[in-house]
Symmetry: C2
Subunit: 270 residues, 2 copies
């Protein structure tokens, strides 16, 4: 019904069977999920109207779907403010993901061990096209930021994890990803120049891990190593982040590089 959006659903999924070519092969389920996804683009409860316009689905249809979603607990009414919000039942699927995703499962004990030894913040993020999606977080002693940001996304091009992953791709692939990226600065120090980025990636390729200085958050230094699948393709990254107030870049790197390499390798092997 909304051809552009249907097309967009299918981009960047070259591994799908042939019928993919036909946009209409995405059934009404697509519209329904698009309704649920309307919440991605807001930070306050939504009315039916708003959901309809954001998702590009007709008002009536939205009303039916929201009704159903509400009956199932995927959508709730906001008690105070008037409008709808995502419902509790969503977390059931979150748990399914965490329990069943092979990388997350295999990484869990390794991350714990890594945190035990490093005593800094450890993250696991999964690669999704131009972004990394955080799937697990082990907090360090004092957490400053939002509690548990499972599902948070960071750009591939300006994070240690992104560099670590790009380092395991061919130059052509990495290039393509970098140029497709929306390279806007996160901090004043964020590197956006492709030449410079490629230098960082080359460094990462050589060392087996990447280090990012204040690329995404001022005052933070991060290190990451990529996790590979059975075909030696990168699928995820383990991050270790610390405060520049406590570590000099040299110490930081020297201290943790062996640990993180070891951790990533442990998770990678079949």
């Amino acid at each position: 019904m909304s051809p552009k959006f249907l097309r967009s659903l299918q981009s960047n999924r070259p591994d799908l069977p042939e019928a993919e070519k036909d946009p209409l092969y995405v059934q009404s389920l697509g519209r329904a999920m698009q309704v649920l996804s309307a919440f991605h683009q807001t930070d306050k409860p939504l009315t039916l109207q708003e959901i309809a316009t954001i998702s590009g689905v007709g008002r009536s249809a939205v009303q039916r779907m929201v009704f159903t979603l509400r009956a199932m607990g995927y959508v709730d009414r906001d008690p105070d403010d008037r409008g709808y919000v995502p419902g509790l039942r969503i977390l059931d699927h979150t748990l399914d993901f965490q329990r069943l995703n092979p990388v997350v499962v295999k990484a869990a004990p390794v991350l714990l061990e890594l945190r035990r030894m490093a005593r800094e913040r450890i993250d696991l993020s999964l690669w999704d096209d131009l972004r990394l999606v955080y799937a697990s977080r082990l907090q360090s002693k004092r957490e400053i930021l939002s509690s548990t940001l499972i599902g948070h996304k960071v750009p591939l091009f300006c994070t240690s994890g992104g560099w670590a992953i790009l380092a395991h791709l061919t130059d052509a692939e990495a290039d393509a990803l970098l140029t497709r990226s929306d390279r806007t600065q996160c901090t004043p120090k964020t590197i956006t120049d492709i030449k410079q980025l490629k230098r960082e990636i080359a460094k990462a390729r050589e060392k087996g891990y990447a280090v990012a200085h204040e690329q995404i958050l001022s005052g933070e230094i991060a290190m990451a190593a990529a996790i590979l699948d059975a075909n030696r393709r990168p699928v995820a990254a383990i991050h270790l982040a610390a405060s520049l107030a406590e570590w000099s870049p040299e110490e930081f790197e020297k201290q943790f590089a062996p640990l993180i390499i070891q951790a990533a390798r442990t998770v990678s092997r079949a």
Copy 2:
């Protein structure tokens, strides 16, 4: 199409509008989500057949839906083992929930402050009928268990959080919930006798918080206070959990009770 399941979707949602009465008012979206929910009942990748039988949806329909869900990223193929697993895109909705749920949002800073003062594990769980669903977790110094168990569920009847919530209901309501509960022991110390449970609830009602000794996990002591909505109805609980190796029950209670009461009250007020 599967009347029994459709009915079940609508139970325990008395706040829904009238058309609820008609099971068929749950459209095919219901079937689709049931397909996604098939993963709730497994701990390994599923084949189409298995999804079909678990969800009670026809093989063909499952294939179509899984195809669509895969195109959108809600389902992935397991790389090694043959079968399907929940996909990354689910985490997008997790984040939406965390960003938009009023209780989670309002509680976040309070939880951080509470952890800063208590230096023990802090959880926020939301009440969903007979269970509590964990929505946020702040880890303590050494985490033993699974990393981030957002979405994990614990029974209402045998947790400090559950007691805290039951304490804010009428006796009749609490009774109904307790009798409906599947009261099987989690640990040898888990209380299953309704009389005893009601005593615990009465204690909680009096003190304003509940304490549970090894009810769900041996060696763990937990304390919780309920979060109320605008109508003074409980909707969530803040938990504080620690090891019995480090605390005597008396010290534990004395130390943390004022903190947790204060925290819960802060989140509760409009």
